[in-house]
């Protein structure tokens, strides 16, 4: 099977990989590049566990072909923390118990970062609708929403 050569940037690192046409970006991240922080909950764009940011837009990596990454800037959960320092969202999720099993957490964190990057002062309703594409079955969302609102407030200070 002939493979496609792709050159892209992942979490600031210039990266090359070979993929088959039908491989999704999620397959490439997990299977080809060993970046298993993005999770597959459905493979159909309905759960958000595979959320990444591509050229500044938040998308489901299960609905993007690996081949489309050519020349793009990709950000994943693995790029959220800086060196020894967790991103404020990561820190707050731990402190406020905004995760239980943790499988949806990477997707929620990437989606929340995408929200705060474009809207540092979201209302609760805006947060809930922005995160509606991320399913969580453990928490009932309450502590997740509170954590995102809290981080937004602190980052505005």
């Amino acid at each position: 099977m002939s493979k496609i050569h792709v050159t892209t940037t992942i979490n600031g690192e210039s990266t090359e990989f070979l993929c088959e046409t039908q491989q999704t970006m999620l397959d490439v991240l997990r299977d080809n590049l060993g970046l298993t922080g993005s999770k597959e909950g459905c493979g159909s764009g309905d759960c958000g566990a595979c959320t990444i940011i591509a050229d500044g837009r938040m998308i489901c990596s299960c609905l993007m072909l690996g081949a489309e990454a050519e020349g793009k800037r990709i950000e994943t959960i693995e790029g959220l923390a800086q060196g020894e320092k967790l991103h404020p969202l990561q820190q707050k999720f731990i402190e406020m118990a905004a995760l239980q099993c943790g499988i949806c957490t990477p997707g929620f964190l990437v989606a929340s970062k995408a929200l705060l990057d474009r809207n540092p002062n979201p209302t609760e309703t805006e947060v809930r609708y922005w995160l509606a594409g991320n399913l969580c079955r453990c928490t009932g969302y309450d502590k997740i929403i509170r954590a995102v609102m809290d981080v937004a407030a602190e980052m505005r200070k």
Binding site: C42, A81, A97, L135, R137, C138, G140
Partner: protein
């Protein structure tokens, strides 16, 4: 809150696995790989009910890259009797047929064959080359239909148990159970008010976000290593050993981080298949379910029918309570009808009770446990009927429940007499809550319902190891789904008198710690917590004896306080207190490594009660329900880590909201599941919900050193009825079937308004 009694218990510390889980570092089921691993895939039945006349695997086996193809014949036959596998009572004849069909395919998605190949795409192609000759049979899905005399029978060997005389012909009714207290007929004879109704629930799925996944490596000498996302790796070991005739000591199971279970990951689907494929190929085999496979073939919970009749006096005293619960078990016997029957009236002190239950098979995947198995189904009927009674009596729904509330000394209809319980306290907490004291907004309505769960104890093992620097590793064997590492570490730190940060909890594999029953039944913080506390007590005994050796005094001259050994009194002589670090540093001189351990079958799990309040609005034109405010109050014993206790209440309530409003398995005429995905299996999303307020009522469980009661299951019991009751009070329409989805509610509203319906 009783937190002030303790230094660590009751505080909100960061979970020990937090950093791993917010950085993507934590490894869940599908995140494990081995060099040279093969991809395993399952071929599933497209029919709800069919005889498998033959399976031709030759073409698939010949495909380049395919290393093995297996069918039911590759697994040993099992006896038709209940036996324990990993401490669970199961019928292995059924279990082996559920992981791989033999004579018949019994549901859409039933595994009929499996392949191992060098790549995903080759494995998929191979599945397409397996030829199965089916003889399609008539099927039956719903419990009412499955109980009919002329229903298609799934199992020719299935004769209803618990009925006299013994049936002469097979049926889909596996068993009938009955519970009685007093004489229900006498109760109804004197009742001044009677309410009666038939309620139904739709089958729903646990909906964990992580699909089932496993990685198996079987060596030529018969030893097996397995990684599995499971609620109980010791159960996985037990099932696999029985199903593959392996000794438990030959199977080493590592529980990966688990992306939700809610009861659905207490059984095996892929694990025995992956091991068999690995045995046949001599290579590691990885298997991961797609979301569609999860919905079609992994354990949902029952749909059911609940017939409820209540007789009461005008003052609200319930004098007769009667209900019949019939539950779908799926393709094999074993629905949670027992707990459904036992929990039905458990909240109430009623003189005369009769409860009858039926366990019914139908052409659906075998049900698995789902959070308080069975209880939400009977509660939907019972708590809705109670609300109808309250309306009929013109009585406040909480007052009605208070008047009949179970308390210490109440004899239940299933036998036991309650010890210390907190139902009254929980009802009062709800009654006095800011939510209940706030008037209902115009255009909105309020619903109330209660719920009960036993909670369980069961087997746990734990160890406490002291490192050379005096810090402590706490080793247990229960997968951490909702923060249990944190609660175990808090109890260990409290008991040992050291800083929470000095205690590191780990979840060990089946070869590295003694047996632990599943993470389920709301047992881990209670039972495994008890084992951890006892392991630490055992460790402290050893630490005291080491201090005694260092001081050259008798052991009983040493006490343990604030994480240090101290002389019991001045006449022991002048000794500087010995910290853990100091004792650890001298461990070699005083007898070597310092460890503690404990193993137990925890008894005396305290039951839990919950009361939920909901304010909602119904769109009269569309039947869409909007939840405006929600409060969950619960008797939680002692909240070891309040944040994760609140999280259990919030998560359970929202699962219940989904069950109430939109979640359901939808089957087409051919008996195929029509909505096997998150798009059309509608679990609540963030924008559907308000914040979920919680009230933690702390009535300590006398059966636990820190008063722990399980908290995980109660919260899914009340929501459906609470919402139905609010709808009834807001619209005058009593919904009796779940889910109360927009089309169904709209139809009911129009039926109540003939003019509108005529539009």
């Amino acid at each position: 809150m009783t937190a002030h009694k303790y230094k660590w218990v009751g505080t909100r510390q960061n979970r020990p696995d937090g950093a791993d889980k917010v950085t993507g570092r934590a490894r869940f089921g599908a995140d494990f790989n081995m060099p040279g691993q093969l991809v395993g895939k399952v071929l599933r039945s497209p029919h709800a009910h069919a005889v498998i006349k033959s399976i031709d695997i030759s073409a698939a086996a010949k495909l380049p890259g395919v290393k093995a193809v297996i069918t039911g014949q590759d697994f040993p036959e099992q006896p038709n009797q209940s036996m324990s596998a990993g401490e669970m009572l199961v019928n292995l004849r059924d279990v082996t047929r559920n992981i791989m069909a033999r004579e018949k395919a019994l549901y859409d998605g039933h595994p009929v064959a499996a392949v191992a190949a060098v790549s995903e795409s080759i494995a998929r192609e191979a599945l397409g080359l397996i030829k199965v000759d089916y003889q399609v049979l008539p099927h039956v899905i719903d419990v009412d239909a499955a109980m009919k005399d002329d229903a298609p029978v799934l199992h020719d060997h299935l004769f209803t148990t618990g009925v006299e005389p013994k049936p002469t012909k097979p049926s889909n009714i596996a068993s009938r159970i009955a519970f009685t207290k007093g004489k229900v007929e006498d109760g109804f004879a004197k009742a001044e008010v009677v309410v009666e109704e038939v309620y139904h629930t739709a089958p729903v799925h646990q909906g964990y976000i992580e699909p089932h996944a496993t990685l198996a490596s079987a060596a030529e000498d018969g030893q097996v290593q397995l990684w599995s996302t499971t609620q109980g790796h010791f159960q996985v070991r037990g099932f696999c050993s029985k199903l593959l005739n392996l000794e438990t000591s030959q199977i080493r199971v590592t529980a990966t981080e688990i992306g939700g279970g809610f009861g659905g990951k207490t059984v095996v689907y892929l694990e025995p298949v992956a091991i068999r494929l690995s045995q046949k190929t001599g290579k590691p085999v990885k298997m991961v379910m797609s979301r569609e496979e999860v919905f079609r073939a992994s354990g949902p919970t029952s749909g059911g029918r609940v017939d409820v009749k209540i007789g009461a006096m005008k003052d609200g005293t319930i004098v007769a309570a009667d209900c019949t619960v019939a539950l779908q078990a799926g393709a094999f016997p074993g629905s949670p009808v027992g707990p459904a029957c036992m929990t039905s009236w458990a909240c109430y002190d009623v003189e005369n009770i009769r409860v009858i239950g039926y366990d019914v098979v139908s052409n659906r995947p075998k049900v698995a446990a789902y959070r308080a198995p069975g209880a939400p189904i009977s509660a939907w009927g019972v708590e809705s009927a109670l609300d109808a009674l309250a309306l009929k009596l013109g009585m406040d729904p909480i007052e009605l429940r208070l008047k009949n509330a179970a308390k210490i000394g109440t004899k239940t209809h299933y036998g036991p007499t309650f010890n210390t319980i907190g139902f009254v306290e929980t009802l009062l907490a709800a009654k006095n809550s800011p939510h209940y004291k706030t008037p209902v907004k115009p255009g909105y309505s309020r619903g109330v319902a209660a719920g009960f769960w036993f909670n369980i104890g069961h087997d746990s093992s734990a160890a406490a190891h002291v490192g050379e620097d005096g810090t402590v590793t706490i080793i247990s064997g229960n997968p951490d789904i909702g923060g249990s590492r944190a609660s175990l570490a808090l109890m260990a730190a409290e008991e040992l008198g050291v800083d929470y940060s000095k205690v590191r909890p780990v979840v060990a594999d089946t070869a590295s710690i003694g047996f632990n029953f599943v993470t389920g039944g709301s047992r881990v913080t209670f039972a495994t917590g008890l084992a951890v506390v006892n392991a630490v007590k055992n460790l402290i005994t050893e630490l005291k004896s080491r201090a005694a050796k260092i001081w050259e005094v008798e052991v009983d001259a040493v006490v343990w306080e604030d994480g240090m050994a101290k002389p019991s009194s001045s006449n022991v002589g002048k000794h500087e207190p010995l910290s853990l670090a100091k004792i650890a540093a001298m461990a070699g001189k005083t007898g070597g490594p310092i460890n503690g351990h404990a193993q137990l079958n925890a008894q005396g799990a305290g039951p839990g009660f919950g009361v939920h309040l909901v304010d909602l609005k119904v769109d009269q034109d569309t039947g869409i329900v909007t939840i405006d405010r929600y409060t969950a109050a619960q008797d939680v014993g002692t909240a070891i880590h309040p944040s994760y206790v609140e999280g259990q209440l919030q998560g359970g309530a929202v699962q219940g909201i989904g069950w109430a409003l939109n979640e359901e398995y939808i089957y087409n005429k051919q008996g195929k599941l029509d909505n096997p995905g998150f798009l059309d299996y509608r679990m609540p999303v963030a924008s559907d919900l308000p914040m979920i307020e919680t009230i933690l009522v702390e009535v300590p469980n006398p059966g636990h050193p820190y008063g722990v009661r399980g908290v995980g299951e109660v919260p899914i019991v009340p929501p459906m009825a609470a919402i139905g009751n609010a709808i009834a009070r807001g619209t005058g329409v009593r919904m009796v079937d779940l889910p109360m989805s927009p089309p169904r509610l709209s139809l009911a509203l129009d039926a109540a308004r003939p003019k509108a319906a005529a539009e």
